[in-house]
Symmetry: C2
Subunit: 207 residues, 2 copies
Protein backbone atom coordinates (compact mmCIF):
# COMPACT_ATOMS: atom_id res chain seq x y z
CA UNK A 1 0.00 0.00 0.00
CA UNK A 2 2.96 2.32 0.40
CA UNK A 3 3.95 1.78 -3.22
CA UNK A 4 1.03 3.65 -4.76
CA UNK A 5 1.87 6.45 -7.22
CA UNK A 6 2.10 9.74 -5.34
CA UNK A 7 3.32 12.09 -8.08
CA UNK A 8 0.39 14.09 -9.48
CA UNK A 9 1.82 14.37 -13.02
CA UNK A 10 2.54 10.64 -13.20
CA UNK A 11 -1.00 9.90 -12.00
CA UNK A 12 -2.58 12.07 -14.69
CA UNK A 13 -0.38 10.67 -17.46
CA UNK A 14 -1.11 7.08 -16.45
CA UNK A 15 -4.84 7.83 -16.25
CA UNK A 16 -4.98 9.18 -19.79
CA UNK A 17 -3.02 6.15 -21.04
CA UNK A 18 -5.61 3.83 -19.49
CA UNK A 19 -8.49 5.84 -20.92
CA UNK A 20 -6.99 5.82 -24.42
CA UNK A 21 -6.38 2.08 -24.20
CA UNK A 22 -9.89 1.30 -23.00
CA UNK A 23 -11.45 3.48 -25.69
CA UNK A 24 -9.74 1.07 -28.12
CA UNK A 25 -10.90 1.58 -31.69
CA UNK A 26 -12.91 4.60 -30.70
CA UNK A 27 -10.73 7.45 -31.86
CA UNK A 28 -11.59 11.12 -32.13
CA UNK A 29 -10.11 14.15 -33.92
CA UNK A 30 -7.35 15.46 -31.65
CA UNK A 31 -9.05 18.38 -29.88
CA UNK A 32 -12.35 16.53 -29.51
CA UNK A 33 -10.50 13.54 -28.07
CA UNK A 34 -8.90 15.76 -25.47
CA UNK A 35 -12.29 17.01 -24.30
CA UNK A 36 -13.88 13.54 -24.24
CA UNK A 37 -10.94 11.98 -22.40
CA UNK A 38 -10.85 14.70 -19.77
CA UNK A 39 -14.56 14.15 -19.10
CA UNK A 40 -13.91 10.42 -18.68
CA UNK A 41 -10.91 11.22 -16.46
CA UNK A 42 -13.23 13.25 -14.21
CA UNK A 43 -16.12 10.78 -14.07
CA UNK A 44 -14.61 7.34 -14.81
CA UNK A 45 -17.70 6.96 -16.99
CA UNK A 46 -17.00 5.89 -20.58
CA UNK A 47 -20.60 6.52 -21.64
CA UNK A 48 -19.58 10.16 -22.09
CA UNK A 49 -17.72 9.06 -25.25
CA UNK A 50 -21.14 8.33 -26.76
CA UNK A 51 -23.11 11.34 -25.55
CA UNK A 52 -20.66 14.23 -25.89
CA UNK A 53 -21.53 16.40 -28.87
CA UNK A 54 -19.35 19.28 -30.02
CA UNK A 55 -20.62 21.67 -32.68
CA UNK A 56 -18.34 22.27 -35.65
CA UNK A 57 -15.64 24.80 -34.85
CA UNK A 58 -16.73 25.18 -31.22
CA UNK A 59 -13.37 24.35 -29.69
CA UNK A 60 -11.57 26.74 -32.03
CA UNK A 61 -14.03 29.55 -31.22
CA UNK A 62 -13.70 28.85 -27.51
CA UNK A 63 -9.90 28.99 -27.73
CA UNK A 64 -10.10 32.34 -29.49
CA UNK A 65 -12.56 33.62 -26.91
CA UNK A 66 -10.29 32.60 -24.07
CA UNK A 67 -7.21 34.03 -25.78
CA UNK A 68 -9.00 37.35 -26.24
CA UNK A 69 -9.69 37.46 -22.49
CA UNK A 70 -13.39 36.56 -22.45
CA UNK A 71 -14.90 35.86 -19.06
CA UNK A 72 -16.55 32.56 -18.17
CA UNK A 73 -19.97 32.57 -16.49
CA UNK A 74 -21.02 29.44 -14.61
CA UNK A 75 -24.38 28.39 -13.19
CA UNK A 76 -22.88 27.05 -9.93
CA UNK A 77 -20.06 27.77 -7.52
CA UNK A 78 -19.03 24.16 -7.93
CA UNK A 79 -18.35 24.46 -11.67
CA UNK A 80 -16.56 27.73 -10.92
CA UNK A 81 -14.35 26.10 -8.31
CA UNK A 82 -13.36 23.25 -10.66
CA UNK A 83 -12.10 25.52 -13.44
CA UNK A 84 -8.36 26.25 -13.53
CA UNK A 85 -8.59 29.96 -12.79
CA UNK A 86 -4.84 30.47 -12.70
CA UNK A 87 -4.50 29.20 -16.26
CA UNK A 88 -7.48 31.30 -17.39
CA UNK A 89 -6.05 34.44 -15.81
CA UNK A 90 -2.95 34.12 -18.02
CA UNK A 91 -5.22 35.21 -20.88
CA UNK A 92 -6.92 37.95 -18.88
CA UNK A 93 -10.23 36.18 -18.26
CA UNK A 94 -12.08 35.50 -15.03
CA UNK A 95 -14.68 32.98 -13.90
CA UNK A 96 -17.82 34.59 -12.55
CA UNK A 97 -20.89 33.23 -10.84
CA UNK A 98 -23.73 35.37 -9.55
CA UNK A 99 -25.92 32.70 -7.99
CA UNK A 100 -25.17 33.66 -4.37
CA UNK A 101 -25.49 37.42 -4.89
CA UNK A 102 -28.10 38.98 -2.66
CA UNK A 103 -29.99 40.73 -5.47
CA UNK A 104 -30.23 37.40 -7.35
CA UNK A 105 -31.73 35.53 -4.38
CA UNK A 106 -34.24 38.32 -3.84
CA UNK A 107 -35.41 38.48 -7.46
CA UNK A 108 -35.62 34.68 -7.72
CA UNK A 109 -37.85 34.58 -4.64
CA UNK A 110 -40.05 37.37 -6.02
CA UNK A 111 -40.54 35.58 -9.33
CA UNK A 112 -40.67 32.05 -7.85
CA UNK A 113 -37.99 30.80 -10.24
CA UNK A 114 -34.52 29.36 -9.71
CA UNK A 115 -31.65 31.64 -8.80
CA UNK A 116 -29.85 30.12 -11.79
CA UNK A 117 -32.31 31.78 -14.18
CA UNK A 118 -31.82 35.23 -12.69
CA UNK A 119 -28.05 34.75 -12.47
CA UNK A 120 -27.93 33.77 -16.16
CA UNK A 121 -29.82 36.95 -17.11
CA UNK A 122 -27.24 38.98 -15.24
CA UNK A 123 -24.36 37.14 -16.96
CA UNK A 124 -25.83 37.74 -20.40
CA UNK A 125 -26.30 41.42 -19.64
CA UNK A 126 -22.71 41.72 -18.49
CA UNK A 127 -21.25 40.09 -21.58
CA UNK A 128 -23.39 38.73 -24.43
CA UNK A 129 -20.24 37.34 -26.08
CA UNK A 130 -18.94 35.48 -23.04
CA UNK A 131 -18.44 31.80 -22.40
CA UNK A 132 -21.44 30.30 -20.61
CA UNK A 133 -21.04 27.12 -18.58
CA UNK A 134 -24.08 25.24 -17.30
CA UNK A 135 -23.34 22.07 -15.38
CA UNK A 136 -26.32 21.84 -13.14
CA UNK A 137 -29.46 23.85 -13.84
CA UNK A 138 -31.56 23.12 -16.94
CA UNK A 139 -33.48 26.28 -16.08
CA UNK A 140 -30.30 28.31 -16.67
CA UNK A 141 -29.76 26.64 -20.04
CA UNK A 142 -33.39 27.21 -21.09
CA UNK A 143 -33.04 30.86 -20.11
CA UNK A 144 -29.83 31.20 -22.14
CA UNK A 145 -31.51 29.55 -25.16
CA UNK A 146 -34.41 32.01 -24.87
CA UNK A 147 -31.99 34.91 -24.80
CA UNK A 148 -30.13 33.61 -27.87
CA UNK A 149 -33.42 33.19 -29.75
CA UNK A 150 -34.28 36.74 -28.73
CA UNK A 151 -31.07 37.90 -30.43
CA UNK A 152 -29.48 39.18 -27.23
CA UNK A 153 -26.54 36.79 -27.05
CA UNK A 154 -23.78 35.64 -29.35
CA UNK A 155 -21.65 33.44 -27.12
CA UNK A 156 -18.03 32.39 -27.64
CA UNK A 157 -19.03 28.97 -26.29
CA UNK A 158 -21.87 27.30 -24.45
CA UNK A 159 -21.02 24.33 -22.29
CA UNK A 160 -24.45 22.76 -21.87
CA UNK A 161 -24.14 19.80 -19.53
CA UNK A 162 -26.89 20.15 -16.92
CA UNK A 163 -27.52 16.89 -15.09
CA UNK A 164 -30.71 15.34 -13.86
CA UNK A 165 -34.21 14.11 -14.34
CA UNK A 166 -36.34 17.20 -14.89
CA UNK A 167 -35.53 19.25 -17.95
CA UNK A 168 -31.86 18.40 -18.35
CA UNK A 169 -32.19 16.19 -21.44
CA UNK A 170 -34.84 18.47 -22.92
CA UNK A 171 -32.75 21.62 -22.49
CA UNK A 172 -29.86 19.98 -24.33
CA UNK A 173 -32.12 18.94 -27.23
CA UNK A 174 -33.10 22.60 -27.60
CA UNK A 175 -29.45 23.67 -27.56
CA UNK A 176 -28.73 21.16 -30.36
CA UNK A 177 -31.07 23.15 -32.62
CA UNK A 178 -29.14 26.39 -32.31
CA UNK A 179 -26.40 27.63 -34.60
CA UNK A 180 -23.97 28.60 -31.83
CA UNK A 181 -20.70 27.02 -30.65
CA UNK A 182 -21.63 24.41 -28.05
CA UNK A 183 -20.38 21.36 -26.21
CA UNK A 184 -23.12 19.24 -24.66
CA UNK A 185 -23.80 15.81 -23.22
CA UNK A 186 -26.99 14.33 -24.59
CA UNK A 187 -29.47 12.85 -22.12
CA UNK A 188 -29.57 13.06 -18.34
CA UNK A 189 -25.88 12.94 -17.57
CA UNK A 190 -23.54 15.87 -17.05
CA UNK A 191 -22.63 17.86 -13.97
CA UNK A 192 -20.54 20.70 -12.60
CA UNK A 193 -17.48 18.42 -12.61
CA UNK A 194 -18.05 17.60 -16.28
CA UNK A 195 -18.52 21.29 -17.08
CA UNK A 196 -15.25 22.22 -15.39
CA UNK A 197 -13.42 19.34 -17.11
CA UNK A 198 -14.53 20.60 -20.53
CA UNK A 199 -13.27 24.12 -19.87
CA UNK A 200 -9.99 22.83 -18.43
CA UNK A 201 -9.43 20.57 -21.46
CA UNK A 202 -9.71 23.63 -23.70
CA UNK A 203 -7.48 25.73 -21.44
CA UNK A 204 -4.76 23.05 -21.57
CA UNK A 205 -4.90 22.98 -25.40
CA UNK A 206 -3.92 26.62 -25.75
CA UNK A 207 -0.22 27.20 -26.07
CA UNK B 1 -40.42 25.35 -24.03
CA UNK B 2 -41.75 28.07 -21.78
CA UNK B 3 -43.69 25.52 -19.79
CA UNK B 4 -40.71 23.84 -18.16
CA UNK B 5 -40.71 23.63 -14.35
CA UNK B 6 -38.96 26.68 -12.93
CA UNK B 7 -39.58 26.21 -9.21
CA UNK B 8 -36.50 24.71 -7.54
CA UNK B 9 -38.45 22.80 -4.86
CA UNK B 10 -40.83 21.30 -7.43
CA UNK B 11 -37.84 20.24 -9.57
CA UNK B 12 -36.16 18.45 -6.69
CA UNK B 13 -39.33 16.72 -5.54
CA UNK B 14 -40.14 15.52 -9.06
CA UNK B 15 -36.54 14.29 -9.51
CA UNK B 16 -36.66 12.15 -6.38
CA UNK B 17 -40.03 10.71 -7.48
CA UNK B 18 -38.50 9.65 -10.80
CA UNK B 19 -35.45 8.15 -9.10
CA UNK B 20 -37.58 6.15 -6.64
CA UNK B 21 -39.78 4.91 -9.48
CA UNK B 22 -36.84 3.84 -11.65
CA UNK B 23 -35.14 2.08 -8.75
CA UNK B 24 -38.29 -0.08 -8.71
CA UNK B 25 -37.91 -3.12 -6.48
CA UNK B 26 -34.55 -1.90 -5.25
CA UNK B 27 -35.39 -0.51 -1.86
CA UNK B 28 -33.07 0.57 0.93
CA UNK B 29 -33.37 1.25 4.67
CA UNK B 30 -34.60 4.86 4.98
CA UNK B 31 -31.37 6.76 5.71
CA UNK B 32 -29.29 4.69 3.29
CA UNK B 33 -31.90 5.27 0.58
CA UNK B 34 -31.63 9.00 1.12
CA UNK B 35 -27.88 8.92 0.55
CA UNK B 36 -28.10 6.65 -2.51
CA UNK B 37 -30.89 8.68 -4.10
CA UNK B 38 -29.09 11.98 -3.59
CA UNK B 39 -26.00 10.55 -5.30
CA UNK B 40 -28.17 9.47 -8.25
CA UNK B 41 -29.84 12.89 -8.25
CA UNK B 42 -26.39 14.48 -8.61
CA UNK B 43 -25.03 12.13 -11.28
CA UNK B 44 -28.06 10.69 -13.11
CA UNK B 45 -26.11 7.43 -12.81
CA UNK B 46 -28.06 4.52 -11.31
CA UNK B 47 -24.95 2.36 -11.05
CA UNK B 48 -24.26 4.14 -7.76
CA UNK B 49 -27.11 2.09 -6.27
CA UNK B 50 -24.88 -0.97 -6.73
CA UNK B 51 -21.53 0.42 -5.63
CA UNK B 52 -22.38 2.60 -2.63
CA UNK B 53 -21.37 0.91 0.61
CA UNK B 54 -22.17 2.35 4.00
CA UNK B 55 -20.63 0.84 7.11
CA UNK B 56 -23.00 -0.12 9.92
CA UNK B 57 -23.96 2.89 12.01
CA UNK B 58 -21.98 5.33 9.85
CA UNK B 59 -24.88 7.65 9.10
CA UNK B 60 -25.88 7.78 12.77
CA UNK B 61 -22.30 8.55 13.84
CA UNK B 62 -22.02 11.21 11.16
CA UNK B 63 -25.25 12.85 12.32
CA UNK B 64 -23.96 12.94 15.87
CA UNK B 65 -20.65 14.37 14.70
CA UNK B 66 -22.38 17.13 12.75
CA UNK B 67 -24.77 17.89 15.61
CA UNK B 68 -21.82 18.23 18.00
CA UNK B 69 -20.28 20.83 15.68
CA UNK B 70 -17.53 18.73 14.09
CA UNK B 71 -15.73 20.30 11.15
CA UNK B 72 -15.63 18.71 7.70
CA UNK B 73 -12.29 18.42 5.88
CA UNK B 74 -12.38 17.96 2.11
CA UNK B 75 -9.65 17.05 -0.36
CA UNK B 76 -10.77 19.59 -2.99
CA UNK B 77 -12.26 23.06 -3.21
CA UNK B 78 -14.89 21.56 -5.47
CA UNK B 79 -16.25 19.18 -2.82
CA UNK B 80 -16.10 22.05 -0.35
CA UNK B 81 -18.12 24.30 -2.62
CA UNK B 82 -20.82 21.67 -3.13
CA UNK B 83 -21.53 21.16 0.56
CA UNK B 84 -24.40 23.14 2.07
CA UNK B 85 -22.31 25.28 4.41
CA UNK B 86 -25.27 27.31 5.63
CA UNK B 87 -27.01 24.17 6.88
CA UNK B 88 -23.78 22.90 8.45
CA UNK B 89 -23.17 26.20 10.24
CA UNK B 90 -26.49 25.79 12.06
CA UNK B 91 -24.74 23.07 14.06
CA UNK B 92 -21.54 25.07 14.54
CA UNK B 93 -19.38 23.21 12.03
CA UNK B 94 -17.33 24.50 9.12
CA UNK B 95 -16.00 23.02 5.90
CA UNK B 96 -12.25 23.33 5.58
CA UNK B 97 -9.84 22.62 2.76
CA UNK B 98 -6.12 23.28 2.94
CA UNK B 99 -5.10 22.26 -0.57
CA UNK B 100 -4.44 25.79 -1.82
CA UNK B 101 -2.56 26.96 1.27
CA UNK B 102 0.94 28.18 0.50
CA UNK B 103 2.66 25.94 3.07
CA UNK B 104 0.91 22.90 1.60
CA UNK B 105 2.04 23.62 -1.96
CA UNK B 106 5.60 24.15 -0.76
CA UNK B 107 5.78 20.93 1.24
CA UNK B 108 4.17 18.91 -1.57
CA UNK B 109 6.76 20.18 -4.02
CA UNK B 110 9.59 19.39 -1.60
CA UNK B 111 8.36 15.83 -1.09
CA UNK B 112 7.24 15.30 -4.71
CA UNK B 113 3.80 14.14 -3.59
CA UNK B 114 0.30 15.47 -4.16
CA UNK B 115 -0.88 18.53 -2.27
CA UNK B 116 -3.84 16.37 -1.21
CA UNK B 117 -1.56 14.18 0.90
CA UNK B 118 -0.02 17.11 2.76
CA UNK B 119 -3.41 18.78 3.16
CA UNK B 120 -4.84 15.58 4.66
CA UNK B 121 -2.01 15.44 7.22
CA UNK B 122 -2.83 18.99 8.26
CA UNK B 123 -6.55 18.15 8.57
CA UNK B 124 -5.85 15.12 10.74
CA UNK B 125 -3.57 17.16 12.99
CA UNK B 126 -6.23 19.81 13.39
CA UNK B 127 -8.96 17.39 14.35
CA UNK B 128 -8.44 13.62 14.50
CA UNK B 129 -12.17 13.18 15.20
CA UNK B 130 -13.41 15.24 12.29
CA UNK B 131 -15.38 14.28 9.21
CA UNK B 132 -13.07 13.57 6.26
CA UNK B 133 -14.38 13.86 2.73
CA UNK B 134 -12.35 12.59 -0.22
CA UNK B 135 -13.98 12.97 -3.62
CA UNK B 136 -10.99 13.21 -5.85
CA UNK B 137 -7.57 12.14 -4.64
CA UNK B 138 -6.84 8.46 -3.86
CA UNK B 139 -3.54 9.70 -2.42
CA UNK B 140 -5.48 11.62 0.24
CA UNK B 141 -7.51 8.54 1.13
CA UNK B 142 -4.39 6.33 1.31
CA UNK B 143 -2.79 8.91 3.59
CA UNK B 144 -5.85 8.98 5.84
CA UNK B 145 -5.90 5.16 5.99
CA UNK B 146 -2.21 5.18 6.99
CA UNK B 147 -2.95 7.66 9.74
CA UNK B 148 -5.86 5.59 11.03
CA UNK B 149 -3.69 2.45 11.07
CA UNK B 150 -1.09 4.45 12.94
CA UNK B 151 -3.69 5.14 15.61
CA UNK B 152 -3.70 8.91 15.05
CA UNK B 153 -7.27 9.28 13.84
CA UNK B 154 -10.69 8.29 15.03
CA UNK B 155 -13.01 9.95 12.52
CA UNK B 156 -16.72 10.74 12.90
CA UNK B 157 -17.11 9.76 9.24
CA UNK B 158 -15.00 9.10 6.18
CA UNK B 159 -16.58 9.78 2.83
CA UNK B 160 -14.26 7.82 0.55
CA UNK B 161 -15.33 8.38 -3.02
CA UNK B 162 -12.20 9.27 -5.01
CA UNK B 163 -12.71 8.90 -8.75
CA UNK B 164 -10.39 7.67 -11.44
CA UNK B 165 -8.07 5.12 -12.93
CA UNK B 166 -4.97 5.16 -10.75
CA UNK B 167 -5.46 4.11 -7.15
CA UNK B 168 -9.10 5.11 -6.68
CA UNK B 169 -10.54 1.59 -6.60
CA UNK B 170 -7.58 0.28 -4.60
CA UNK B 171 -7.84 3.00 -1.95
CA UNK B 172 -11.50 2.17 -1.40
CA UNK B 173 -10.75 -1.55 -1.01
CA UNK B 174 -8.31 -0.60 1.77
CA UNK B 175 -10.94 1.59 3.44
CA UNK B 176 -13.37 -1.36 3.39
CA UNK B 177 -11.01 -3.25 5.71
CA UNK B 178 -11.09 -0.65 8.46
CA UNK B 179 -13.40 -0.57 11.44
CA UNK B 180 -14.38 3.09 11.10
CA UNK B 181 -17.61 4.79 9.98
CA UNK B 182 -17.40 5.15 6.19
CA UNK B 183 -19.42 5.73 3.07
CA UNK B 184 -17.68 4.70 -0.15
CA UNK B 185 -18.34 3.91 -3.79
CA UNK B 186 -16.60 0.74 -4.88
CA UNK B 187 -14.54 0.82 -8.07
CA UNK B 188 -13.49 3.75 -10.21
CA UNK B 189 -16.52 5.97 -9.86
CA UNK B 190 -17.04 8.77 -7.40
CA UNK B 191 -16.18 12.46 -7.50
CA UNK B 192 -16.33 15.73 -5.67
CA UNK B 193 -19.98 16.10 -6.67
CA UNK B 194 -20.76 12.66 -5.21
CA UNK B 195 -18.85 13.52 -2.02
CA UNK B 196 -20.83 16.73 -1.55
CA UNK B 197 -24.12 14.95 -2.27
CA UNK B 198 -23.42 12.40 0.49
CA UNK B 199 -22.72 15.07 3.08
CA UNK B 200 -25.76 17.10 2.02
CA UNK B 201 -28.00 14.02 2.23
CA UNK B 202 -26.91 13.57 5.86
CA UNK B 203 -27.30 17.28 6.63
CA UNK B 204 -30.89 17.21 5.32
CA UNK B 205 -31.73 14.19 7.53
CA UNK B 206 -30.97 16.03 10.75
CA UNK B 207 -33.97 17.77 12.25
Amino acid sequence: MNNYIKNPYAIEEKSFEIITKELGDRTFPQDIGKVVKRIIHTTADFSFADITIISKGAIQQAKEGIKSGKNIYTDTKMAMSGINKKRLSEFGGKVLNFVSDQDIALKAKEEGVTRSIIAMRKAVEENPNGIFVIGNAPTALFELINQIRGGNVNPSLIVGVPVGFVGAAESKEELLKLDVPYILTRGRKGGSNVAAAIINAILYMIN
